[in-house]
Subunit: 719 residues, 2 copies
């Protein structure tokens, strides 16, 4: 239950497997591509948070020069999955330790050549890649191995690295400079081998190559150890020292260390399922992604929406992190949780600038957040498939719930840790500035005596520019309540910090308005059928089934939102009212959850990976784990099956889906196990038919608990 494996080679799955067999950590992602692959096969040594913009292209993180390029030749013919005869081919990811293995048995006119290549990225957080490329033949033959650095980098909006300098000095070195900030991105590589073969050096087609020519004996194993290091603004001396350190350590010892780090991570994070092996593997695979993405080693990093799998979505941080991933770290890894919060505190300046740029006050957080809260989102996030023109979208300027999502996350973090200090480290200022933003964005309805939030996008992005979105308004109400709550708390503690801050940021008028408005924020009514209208006028939209709608498509990738097919119908992209019900579960009676689940689920396209898990969670809440199970599996397997959208209009949106991974984890813990966080921890198991047992650990208020449960019983003990 720890191995993801695929057999055979399928050219159509190259992009998908690149995501599926991803390894790395939050500073470096290496896609699960084959040694001999290049730019066309979407190889990437991806550097999250190293953002760069070229011309008018989107600002995105950089990919480094690829040090894993390796290709074997018999005579002049390359052993190549595209052209050679393959007897067997498999790729394996050992998620227990982040080890990628590739095994291919080639049949080159009767000569069988087995290539076994392994690699892992040092879990210490350094950008160290260890690999071994192993060759075995069934006959004596002459072979040529070319291994080195591929300078031809796959980019969506590149090329980002210019002024390239190559150096061969014991190791191979290449240095490039980003356009925008002039950051020096380097790749170093050194190869050792089991037979002390010497290499010649060759430059070829944008590659720096070491060339080994040798006569292989049948059945003998030839190993080429690969040590690579990616530097960011590091001197050659530093890099050289890293290389020496890696070579001295050696692949095998490094792998022993690797396993230890991973064992300790899994010890806190694993969720065991007995009775359903595929669910077990899928959930572990989801947790694997959350582990490689954990900002445990950073003080204020967060997690991009496509993780470390590539440049999609500009490598930016979305609300995905706060709402769909943070819950995992709150249970298992508080360093990561705190880092996620701190990242947003460091983005306050950017959020205030964004608000100001639109004429608002307070903190309007980035829809696609890069460093310092800079919003990388463009006004044209989709390309029209019919005219090839950019489509004006409103993610950046109207999806205002992001600011409230962040406040929700801060509250959750404090509720789970009692780490009130963070309020004084910037979180309270963040909260007040978000409240100020909502005061300036919202408007008062004089005849109806209520505060309304008009002209927004809710989570369901298909319906643009809607008013009084149930989800958004509820968050605004929560933000105002939070301000009042913390005012009281500081007052009760006789701590002047709150009022000093009010003075410092001139928040008097705002505080007085908030006190007046806190119970006047318009919350969409629950109607006589227990339904909550997603936004003003939703009920008047066209009734049409998902199937009917999709049948009207004229192009497979046409965008359904906005003025697209779904925009004037009740079909929604993703959970919206349902997400609100989950986040504010206790504010609504179970019957409301139930009725809204049954109403909205058939109307939901689940066109976002954020959707299924929310429905799964509510399904569990209303005691229907059988509804939840397929939705849970959809979330947990999204990067196993590759069944997700890879294009929005003409824009590539492929990559991994950590929010779905987080959603799968949430469904397991809060849905199936029914964990309830109150003054004490409680569980209400609602296991699917196939689950016999579940076991996991939870951190809460400074303690850790081991929890074991079956369908009708649970025990929890402090450890």
């Amino acid at each position: 239950m720890w191995h993801i494996k695929e057999e055979g080679f399928d050219i159509n799955k190259i992009a998908h497997y690149g995501n599926k067999f991803l390894i790395g950590h939050l500073n470096l992602g290496v896609r699960g591509t084959l040694d001999e692959f290049g730019k066309a096969e979407m190889v990437a040594c991806h550097l999250p948070f190293i953002y760069d913009q070229v011309g008018q292209g989107w600002r995105e993180p950089v990919n480094a020069f690829n040090p894993l390029y390796t290709r074997l030749y018999q005579g002049s013919s390359s052993l190549d999955v595209f052209k050679s005869k393959i007897i067997s081919h498999e790729q394996i990811l050992d998620i227990s330790a982040g080890l990628y293995t590739r095994k291919t048995l080639f049949d080159d006119e009767g000569v069988e050549v087995l290539i076994t290549s392994k690699r892992f990225i040092c879990a210490s957080g350094k950008r160290r890649i260890f690999g071994v490329y192993q060759i075995e033949t069934n006959q004596d033959i002459s072979l040529t191995l070319k291994t080195g650095i591929d300078l031809n980098v796959w980019d969506l909006h590149g090329p980002h690295l210019e002024d390239v300098i190559k150096e061969v000095d014991g190791s191979l070195y290449v240095f490039g400079k980003t356009h925008e900030k002039g950051q020096i991105i380097s790749t170093a590589k050194k190869v050792t081998n089991s037979h002390n073969f010497k290499a010649s050096y060759q430059e070829d087609d944008q590659k720096m190559l070491e060339v080994y020519q040798f006569d292989a004996k049948a059945k003998e194993i030839y190993q080429f150890y690969q040590y690579a290091y990616i530097g960011v603004d590091e001197t050659k001396a530093v890099i050289e020292a890293e290389m020496n350190d890696m070579v001295t350590l050696g692949f095998n010892q490094a792998y022993v260390d690797q396993k230890n780090i991973w064992r300790s991570m899994w010890d806190d994070a694993d969720v065991e399922i007995v009775g359903d092996d595929f669910a077990q593997l899928a959930l572990r695979y989801s947790i694997y992604h959350l582990l490689i993405l954990s900002p445990r080693l950073s003080k204020n990093s967060s997690i991009p929406a496509r993780g470390i799998s590539g440049q999609t979505y500009k490598g930016a941080i979305f609300w995905d992190t706060e709402i769909f991933m943070l819950p995992f770290y709150l249970n298992t890894d508080l360093n990561s949780a705190k880092s996620i919060i701190k990242y947003r505190i460091s983005g306050l300046k950017g959020a205030k600038e964004k608000a100001k740029s639109y004429g608002y006050q307070g903190a309007f957080y980035a829809w696609e957040s890069q460093e310092n809260g800079f919003d990388a989102c463009t006004d044209y996030n989709v390309t029209d498939v019919f005219t090839n023109r950019p489509v004006r979208t409103y993610f950046k300027d109207k999806q205002v719930h992001i600011s409230g999502d962040i406040v929700y996350a801060i509250k959750s973090y404090i509720d789970r840790t009692k780490d009130d200090e963070i309020l004084m480290e910037g979180a309270l200022e963040l909260i007040l500035e978000v409240a100020r933003f909502y005061l300036s964005y919202g408007r008062y309805n004089l005849l109806l005596d209520r505060f309304e939030i008009l002209d927004v996008l809710g989570p369901d992005e298909y319906h643009e520019r809607v008013s009084n979105n149930a989800f958004t308004n509820k968050l605004v109400s929560m933000v105002f309540e939070t301000v009042i709550q913390y005012e009281k708390q500081f007052k009760d503690d006789k701590n002047m910090f709150f009022y000093n801050l009010v003075k410092k940021i001139d928040f008097y008028k705002e505080l007085s308005l908030i006190k007046d408005l806190v119970h006047k924020v318009y919350l969409k009514e629950v109607d006589k059928d227990h339904l909550i209208e997603q936004f003003d006028g939703y009920n008047r939209l066209k009734d049409i089934s998902k199937d009917e709608l999709l049948k009207q498509k004229l192009h497979p990738n046409e965008y359904l939102g906005g003025s697209g097919l779904a925009g004037d119908t009740k079909i929604i992209k993703q959970a919206d009212v349902i997400t609100m019900l989950y986040l504010f579960k206790n504010d609504y009676e179970k019957e409301i959850h139930e009725k809204n689940f049954h109403y909205y689920e058939p109307l939901t396209e689940h066109g976002s990976s954020l959707s299924s898990s929310m429905y799964a969670l509510i399904a569990c809440h209303i005691g229907k784990p059988e509804y939840a199970y397929p939705l849970f599996m959809k979330s947990a397997t999204i990067d196993i099956t590759g069944e997700s959208k890879t294009y929005a209009g003409k824009i590539y949106i492929g990559g991994t889906h950590p929010a779905a991974s987080g959603g799968a984890y949430m469904t397991a813990i809060y849905g199936f196990a029914g964990l309830k966080i109150g003054d004490i921890l409680e569980l209400e198991p609602r296991l699917p038919e196939s689950f016999k047992k579940m076991s996991f650990k939870i951190k809460h208020l400074g303690k850790q608990y081991q929890i074991n449960l079956t369908k009708d019983h649970y025990d929890m003990k402090e450890i």
Copy 2:
């Protein structure tokens, strides 16, 4: 200067000439098509205000069966502009009396046949059509004339007439029934002729025909008088009496009567221009259209945006009437002016229903108003040329300025007539309900202490769903001021009507809010460059020239608004800020007019016939008649040249442009002559280079004045 004439036949101008040579009155329009034309050539005997809907088609006015169908044959060959050899062909409209003439000289293998056909519609307002079809040949030949009723009606969203009953009884009769209300629409026709030829009867291809066969002598004139009557819910006895009356009266006497009625209309309405014959003709032609459309004989009719030229725009009344046509009637014909106001009072119920349907209070007037204020506008007023899908447009639900336009019109009417009685006949209630609507549509900005109108379409329809449109907000402010003004007026008069009405319609809270808000409605600031931003965020839109924008078009008829090419640029469809400046001329200094004229004019596509005249008026106001002149001519000649859009996306929008006619009149009187209406009438002549003199009459406060002016002098005397 009283004749519009075109020579030659051009198949591409059939639709245009149908509009250009239009005759009729507000109860019946007959397009300027040839006698032998049918449905394919857009023949129409158009019945404004007789609305009908078939299936899911648009609800539109009905066209009657065509009694003008007449075709001449020599032997079996038809004399036909499409196929026959034409020596000369002309169409003439005598605008002094609404007489249409067509003259065609055919050459049928050496035989010359001259057809001269005239027709007019009785200006008394009855649906009586008089015609004469005259034949002259240069050789003795045998001819066959077929004349009768064509039952194959041209419709945009028909067919509307069902259960058709035909009867031949002295005259030809045909009765059809509308789908929706079952109204009986009938056409009767009787033909007499100069030679007492007898006809046989024939039915042929959806036609009821009288067939005359005769031997024509060279140089002799054969006249066939045509008497036709269109009935709406009238019995055969009534129609028969009408027919007898018409035949007894005869074409020639009827035409004498016709000329008398028209002479009297022109006497009040004519504007004489000395020095520029084409401008004279174009302006008279504009006035001609306003005369045929005048609701002088009705108590509460208004004028459809395409007049009586066909079913375009659902035969509905738009703000065109109040803002662009009413000024003509206020100067020349107060019965018509009052009827236009009364029409809106009768639409209050529909406006309240419309507001309620969207969850608002008060009166939200129809964007496309049919009877009783019913809004015929659909949510999809354009078809996408690339996908053939309907495009969601926001004319109906967001173009809220219409309610304010009506209040503006009522105020203008009262200011010009002191007919305060109308306030007690429903106009005050209308005003209060419009104010209530704006209170419920607008929202209060708490941090900025101002009342805002968000999410609207202003006059410039290319920019959908904008906030704080300068034009709209100014109207809202004016509506609130008007409420306060009339409260004071009734109070000063010790007339309890105002407060009784407040009580009756429960307007207490609203009145109190209005007093608080009247000076807090957000009026877009005049910036340091004296410019007024059209709406919040307009200044951030893309800078692009009109030419550049139009170059990007991929389809000649693609819709530029909304998510089309212009939507995210500064290019606007029509005058918006400039219309506001015109309507509230005295509230803004001349420099503001000047700067905004020069800023917005190059950004304006003038894609609406409402645009040029507003720019022309402001150009005059800033003392630049040379800028105004071409814009004036564009408005005045729009239906002469036919240079206007006939398609929006895939939707036919052709027809006449009475708002442009009204705009041309306004430019002449308020622009070139510079008429200023205050306590006394004043003029500030700003005549274009080519104008030597202008003369016209004006009614004001119960008196009529004759005004004569030259470039530097004017005299005005009461008559």
